[in-house]
């Protein structure tokens, strides 16, 4: 009895996150999964409920037969969904690439700044999170629109004579995504750069490497764990992004998150929306698993070194 209690208390630190995951991730996922197999109907809820009360084994199989793959058939037959998936992948990949291109030098400059400055710089990166993300996207809308801030400034400076069409373009969507997710790139990259012992760089210089060679051969490889973490932290949420393409993109911007919202709110077709969500999770599981693996192997390497 005592040992059972002791075993439980020892496992408690593992059980708490496990329950958290069960309650807040797995349960909603199975609800969505179940809806995706349901049939659409007009009414409340807008799908034929299945698995409400199971009465015996026979009833279980009966209810199982009521499930349908119809929503998935729609996803496969209508190439709109495929295109939206591929378009999301492309947008997320391009945005991640640019976030890295901008974020790495930022993080590098931060890690090289005087020690006393670093908390302030870190704060500056985190500060935008103090304002709602929705408000910040709306602000971009105000900046980018025809008679918005950016066009006015450019006109005043006589850089352009005609206002540019910036809003409702793919450019605006990329801008919004890169802007929003840049901190998710900067923070892990900075954290891994900051951990690199400066003597590695000195050793490389001492052994005849130029500043640039030392950077490529030593600093970049050692910051790779942060780069990988940053890329996934940008790529994964960008893939499912809905608000940014909805507010900044035009009707031509195809993204799967936006498509899901349309199914749910405009078409009121919960089963198809649920099927889209399930497919999205399936697609994202691959990079998430790769990410986890990378994190684990990095941790192992650190332990070996320590």
């Amino acid at each position: 009895m005592m040992s059972a209690v002791r075993g439980l208390t020892r496992r408690l630190p593992i059980l708490i996150p496990f329950f958290w995951l069960l309650v807040f991730f797995l349960t909603p996922f199975f609800i969505v999964l179940q809806i995706s197999f349901a049939e659409f109907q007009y009414g409340q809820p807008p799908y034929v409920p299945n698995f409400r009360k199971v009465e015996g084994v026979g009833d279980f199989f009966n209810q199982l037969q009521m499930m349908t793959l119809y929503s998935y058939e729609i996803l496969l037959s209508d190439n709109l969904y495929w295109k939206a998936f591929l378009s999301s992948l492309r947008i997320a990949a391009v945005a991640t690439f640019f976030a890295l291109l901008i974020g790495y030098p930022l993080a590098y400059a931060m890690s090289r700044a005087p020690r006393s400055w670093q908390p302030i710089l870190l704060m500056a990166v985190i500060l935008p999170f103090w304002t709602s993300y929705l408000i910040r996207i709306y602000a971009w809308k105000a900046i980018l629109q025809k008679n918005g801030f950016l066009n006015n400034v450019l006109m005043e400076l006589s850089v352009i004579t005609e206002p540019l069409t910036l809003l409702s373009t793919p450019f605006a969507v990329y801008l919004g995504i890169i802007y929003t997710y840049l901190p998710f790139m900067v923070l892990p990259v900075y954290s891994s750069l900051e951990k690199i012992d400066p003597s590695y760089n000195e050793a490389a210089r001492d052994l005849g490497a130029s500043g640039l060679t030392a950077f490529w051969r030593v600093t970049v490889p050692l910051s790779l764990p942060g780069v990988i973490a940053g890329c996934f932290l940008v790529f994964i949420p960008a893939m499912g992004e809905w608000v940014i393409p909805d507010l900044l993109g035009g009707s031509g911007t195809l993204m799967i998150g936006k498509q899901l919202a349309t199914e749910l709110f405009n078409n009121n077709d919960w089963p198809v929306a649920a099927a889209v969500a399930v497919c999205m999770i399936m697609v994202l599981i691959v990079p998430i698993v790769i990410f986890q693996r990378a994190q684990e192997s990095d941790q192992r390497r650190r332990q070996e070194e320590g």
Binding site: S199, A203, D206
Partner: protein, 387 residues
């Protein structure tokens, strides 16, 4: 060779003394080098010559500026003023990768993402012009030199501290630098391994005929490995000399105290009696007898008197024939196996240390706590210092 022998005898490089030859051009010259970090003066007007094939040790407590001095030679710090001449050229403005100098870092700084082999070859690839096979050959030879050829494919994370130290050494030596800098190279090793490695370093230095500059806070290490020692304190070089000179003829109280063990007493010179100089001190009512090595009178300016524990004899019977014989009480005994150091109180608050080698295997020494004893030393054994 016991530890005591290494402490007293000058380093094994007897006969090698280029610093004594006036025409000899030094390999490295620090000329009035000063380094300030803000208002802090890390290195204060240091001038120092290091000669080819020397194993020079910079010794001092942490924060004394020894590491900064070395980092200026490596090129990681720029002097605020002064010149650093290597092989006749001022290298102050030369980038670290263009200097004929390599450094072994205290943390070893082995690239964790590269194998042992890749670490050693790193500097060879940067040299340019060398063929792949040449680089591989040289890498192999360097790894053989440090007896790590079997570990070529391992990552630094899979090596022990001692093995890492060897890889760092092989990597720094691979480019055949004119000068090898060693920053506290053995600090991370345990005592046994450290002593063994000290001799290996000396052998490698002699075998390759290179110039080594080591930075250390471990006086025993400096004494063992080096041809000469520069003792630093608060940014200044207090004394430069062979281990024997620095130990037996310290020029300041700091050097006497920092290197080896000593007892220091304030003195006031009173007068002369034959070859001896008499000085008043707090150890006893009777004066202490001083005598310089060349029998010249001891300067009136002498303020401090230093005597090493191994030069002081402790006995139960009053010894005869020495002018310096004083009575006291044993207040402490530091037993370390091969020897015991007796702390003898001569007067309230005045304690002298006397070392006795434990030649006989005794469970308990004949002299013990609170015993009334006599301490004595030869007049020439003491050293007088200005401050």
């Amino acid at each position: 060779m016991t530890q005591q022998d290494t402490l007293i005898s000058p380093a094994p490089t007897t006969g090698f003394s280029p610093w004594a030859e006036p025409d000899r051009e030094p390999l490295v010259q620090f000329r009035n080098v000063t380094k300030r970090f803000g208002s802090f003066v890390a290195v204060d007007n240091v001038s120092l010559n290091i000669y080819q094939r020397e194993f020079f040790a910079l010794l001092g407590p942490s924060g004394c500026g020894k590491t900064t001095l070395m980092r200026m030679l490596a090129g990681f710090e720029t002097p605020t003023s002064g010149e650093i001449i290597v092989d006749g050229k001022n290298i102050v403005d030369v980038a670290p990768d263009k200097r004929p100098i390599n450094m072994m870092f205290q943390s070893y700084a082995l690239f964790p993402h590269m194998s042992v082999e890749q670490n050693v070859a790193f500097g060879l690839h940067r040299a340019g012009g060398a063929a792949k096979s040449e680089i591989a050959d040289r890498t192999q030879r360097m790894l053989k030199l440090v007896q790590l050829d079997a570990f070529a494919k391992r990552k630094p994370g899979q090596l022990s501290g001692g093995q890492k130290q060897r890889v760092a050494l092989a990597r720094a030596l691979a480019r055949s630098p004119k000068i090898l800098l060693l920053d506290e190279p053995l600090a991370a090793l345990d005592k046994k391994l450290r002593e063994q490695t000290q001799f290996e370093l000396m052998n490698i230095q002699e075998e390759l005929g290179l110039t080594f500059l080591i930075v250390t806070h471990d006086q025993q290490e400096a004494m063992t490995v080096s041809s000469r020692i520069g003792v630093m304190r608060a940014g200044q070089l207090q004394q430069i000399g062979t281990p024997g000179e620095v130990y037996e003829y310290p020029q300041t109280g700091f050097v006497a105290d920092f290197i080896g063990d000593t007892s220091l007493f304030d003195i006031e010179v009173q007068g002369r009696e034959g070859d001896y100089t008499l000085a008043k001190w707090k150890g006893a009512d009777s004066p202490v007898y001083l005598r310089s090595v060349d029998d010249s009178p001891v300067s009136e300016a002498a303020k401090v008197f230093s005597v090493r524990p191994e030069k002081v004899t402790v006995s139960r019977e009053k010894p005869t024939g020495e002018p310096n014989v004083f009575a006291g009480k044993v207040v402490d005994i530091a037993y370390s196996g091969s020897q015991s150091v007796y702390h003898v109180e001569l007067a309230p608050g005045v304690v002298i240390k006397a070392l006795d080698t434990n030649r006989l295997r005794l469970v308990s020494s004949t002299i013990t706590w609170n015993d009334q004893v006599w301490v004595s030393w030869r007049a020439r054994s003491g050293v007088v210092l200005g401050s």
